[in-house]
């Protein structure tokens, strides 16, 4: 059995090499096929059938950018934590959900405080800017605190464990937080009362092709906020001492400790920042989408994680790019390909698989994803 001389091995090797070559060809071949299909469909929809006018495309683009901005905001938190700990913080969506509830309650409370009765105005509408700022601060603080305790209780003791263990712990924390919210706040869907100046659905109207395209105030607010927070985060990571510490810990935990960086404190602070970002996303979600309930963080959380992976996880601008990209795929994709909107998630995941098959590091990411062989 063990007497294989050079000849048999060489024969086996030949067959093997041929097989490998075929498999290696399969991948780009599949890619070309998919690309052709997509181009063909787009040609059909855009040129041949001329389905949608410029007003519709503008609307879809705006939709996509806004949805994308929300995903990006949540994805930034994911990617921050992943970059430092190489761990998927499954409970991130729930942290966002609690921030959303905090925003909801703040707005509700402010809406209930009556300032004057003629004309009947509430605190919310008399001092909307203060109310909004306070809502964000409260939401972000609560989420930041939650993020801190989450790390301390559920993740820190597991830092040295194999990858699966903190993942399950994160899933458990996510389920726990979801149900805690359900028990505390009831499973009812709650409406968020926006201040009058930021009424949902109102916005600037542009006349394109005979119909009014509305660019909603809340949508613009979301987008601008996402960009601002991203820039702010970028500045923190690149320019401050904390940012340097974060980058160092992300690169090599032990050496960073040797260099005098308090690893635990740095990681805690990372979670606080990530939590604060999630909180902002949650309040933003409440303002823009108007619905808050215990499950509201789950699906956007998964989508945002997909976006982060798409853009290259661990990469901050990648999160933004991934988020916007995913948002645009979701809103313009089905229209461009002429398929049902019901299948937009299928489209998103298929694109994810395609991107990861050809560029396992994501669009902007580093090559962390592949097995190094």
């Amino acid at each position: 059995m063990n007497e294989s001389g050079p000849l048999p091995v060489a024969q086996k090797g030949d067959k093997h090499r041929k097989r490998v070559r075929i498999i290696k060809l399969l991948r780009p071949a599949l890619g070309v096929v998919v690309l052709l299909f997509i181009l063909f469909r787009m040609y059909q929809v855009l040129v041949v059938q001329h389905e949608f006018g410029p007003d519709t495309w503008t609307r879809l683009l705006i939709s996509g950018l806004i949805i994308g901005a929300v995903y990006a905001l949540i994805a930034i938190g994911y990617t921050l934590v992943y970059g430092i700990l190489f761990m998927i913080n499954f409970a991130h969506g729930e942290v966002m959900m609690f921030g959303a509830y905090a925003g909801l309650f703040t707005f509700q409370a402010f809406g209930a405080i009556k300032i004057s009765s003629v004309p009947p105005t509430s605190f919310l509408n008399a001092y909307p800017v203060i109310a909004i700022i306070l809502a964000f601060l409260i939401g972000m603080s609560i989420s930041a605190t939650l993020g801190y305790f989450l790390e301390k209780i559920a993740y820190r003791p597991l830092r040295k464990a194999p990858r699966l263990v903190p993942l399950i712990s994160a899933i458990g924390a996510s389920i726990f937080l979801q149900n805690a919210a359900q028990l505390l706040f009831s499973p009812q869907l709650r409406d968020v009362t926006n201040p009058e100046i930021l009424k949902r659905g109102e916005g600037w109207k542009i006349l394109i092709n005979g119909s009014n395209v509305v660019i909603s105030y809340t949508g613009v607010f979301t987008f601008v906020l996402s960009v601002l927070l991203l820039i702010g985060l970028y500045i923190i990571v690149r320019k401050t001492k904390l940012g340097r510490a974060m980058r160092a810990v992300a690169l090599d935990k032990n050496t960073a400790a040797l260099m005098g960086i308090d690893v635990n404190r740095t990681i805690s602070r990372t979670f606080i920042i990530s939590g604060a970002l999630a909180g902002a996303a949650g309040v933003m979600w409440g303002l823009h989408n108007g619905l808050v309930y215990y499950f509201v963080g789950f699906i956007p959380g998964i989508k945002a994680f997909t976006a982060a992976v798409l853009g290259g996880i661990g990469n901050l601008p990648g999160a933004m790019v991934g988020g916007l990209f995913l948002g645009i795929i979701e809103s313009m994709g089905p229209a461009a390909l002429g398929i049902d909107f019901q299948l937009k998630d299928v489209l998103a995941f298929v694109i994810l698989i395609i991107v990861l098959t050809f560029r396992p590091s994501g669009l902007l990411g580093e090559v962390l994803a592949e097995e190094k062989v």
């Binding site: 007003d55 519709t56 609307r59 979701e330």
Partner: protein, 420 residues
């Protein structure tokens, strides 16, 4: 063989658990068994009535002090919980009104089926295993009812749904399924006619939530509308639990429909109504269904809801209705019909079921109450001239027992009013 040891330990534990677990409530008397021997002293003989021996599904047995359960599968948690709660509460009033019958009381047992087929099947399996459940006033949602039907069929538990309106439900040859609500086909035809003739809609867009009920209804409306000569410009599905439908609505707006028909429930319907205004559909009419009716739709849409239609079926003010309204409000603090249009149907279906049970039950010498299951199935199907709050019901051979048609409601000045 350590794993085997663990297996043994585990099985022993399982046995212990079984021993300590509560036994199921009154056992059914299976087909053709010997009569139960009396444990009481001299006089009365605890004899099983002859009908239990011949009934294909046997009898459910209740001793004095027991509770006859009427089951109900409804969404009790999540976004549509208000529907389920509302109808189950209406039905609970009926169970209370039924009083005591030969020492036995009635109870409405509502279980959460989430409004989904999966939940419906799960709840049905649970009820099927519970011998005290003799009939089911449900399920509330069509999808859940469809999945539950064959399970009840297998154990002889009749259904009388107050709200499951999907037409195919009575086309399957089921012996156990009956309903007192009009079918979606009726609703769709009348809706299409209203849209085409009354509102003058020529181009209709269809949106549904991808679930059994919403999809079925939207497709029926589309077919009826097209048959009348109208044009269905687009049909799209949204995903429930999502909150941003601006993309779909933009695409729909590009087709310039006069009205949008929405098949689904309030949680998504209210979002569609809200987002219509900012996606170029300001001039389109939002036409919902009975799933979008209720106080919640009002509060969710606020000003955006002005002019939105929905389907309801509020009955006329008879003394029975007034009495029920008062009882409901005193028990639950809300007026019936606020949360869903089916509160009265909930009462009626439960009352009808209890009426049939009372008519069929056989009491033996020691006071035990026997309910023959197969006979009950036939009795519910054979319901004739039952006077309920919402009308008088007679079931046909297929299980359609509805007495009335849909009533259109529109939001005007922030409240639901009957549509002209």
């Amino acid at each position: 063989m350590k794993s085997l040891k663990f297996f043994v330990v585990f099985t022993v534990l399982a046995l212990l658990f079984t021993a300590c677990a509560p036994k199921a409530t009154p056992t059914a008397v299976p087909v053709a068994t010997e009569a139960a021997v009396a444990t009481e002293a001299p006089a009365a003989v605890d004899e099983v009535p002859a009908v239990c021996g011949t009934d294909p599904f046997g009898c459910a047995v209740f001793a004095p002090g027991d509770v006859i359960k009427i089951g109900m599968g409804a969404p009790l948690t999540g976004g549509d919980a208000s529907f389920g709660l509302d109808i189950s509460q209406g039905a609970a009033v009926a169970a209370k009104d039924a009083g005591t019958f030969n020492g036995v009381t009635f109870e409405l047992v509502a279980e959460d089926d989430g409004g989904t087929p999966e939940g419906g099947a799960a709840v049905a399996n649970k009820f099927a295993a519970d011998q005290a459940v003799v009939a089911v006033a449900g399920h509330i949602y069509s999808g859940a009812s469809a999945a539950a039907m064959p399970i009840y069929e297998g154990v002889g538990v009749p259904m009388l749904s107050p709200s499951a309106s999907n037409p195919p439900l009575t086309e399957q040859g089921s012996k156990v399924f009956n309903r007192i609500v009009f079918t979606d086909q009726t609703s769709a035809d009348i809706t299409a006619k209203y849209l085409y003739d009354k509102l003058g809609v020529k181009k209709l867009a269809l949106i549904h939530d991808g679930q059994d009920y919403g999809k079925g209804l939207a497709e029926l409306v589309g077919a009826s509308f097209a048959a009348l000569g109208g044009e269905v410009v687009v049909e799209e599905a949204i995903t429930p639990k999502e909150t941003d439908f601006t993309a779909v609505l933009s695409v729909i707006a590009s087709k310039k429909p006069d009205a949008i028909f929405f098949g689904g429930y309030t949680s998504e319907g209210s979002i569609v109504a809200n987002q219509m205004k900012s996606t170029g559909l300001e001039n389109a009419v939002f036409f919902g269904c009975d799933g979008t009716f209720g106080a919640e739709f009002l509060t969710r849409t606020g000003a955006n809801g002005e002019g939105a239609f929905a389907v309801s079926l509020t009955p006329l003010d008879t003394p029975a209705k007034v009495a029920f309204d008062a009882a409901y409000e005193s028990a639950y603090g809300k007026k019936p019909g606020e949360l869903s249009p089916y509160t009265w149907n909930g009462y009626d279906s439960t009352a009808a079921l209890i009426d049939r049970v009372k008519a069929l039950a056989v009491v033996n010498a020691v006071g035990k109450v026997f309910v023959p299951r197969g006979a009950l199935v036939d009795a519910v199907r054979g319901l004739k001239d039952f006077v309920g709050i919402s009308g008088t019901y007679t079931c046909d051979a297929k299980g359609e027992c509805n007495a009335n048609g849909p009533l259109f409601m529109v939001i005007k000045d922030g409240a639901w009013v009957p549509a002209p």
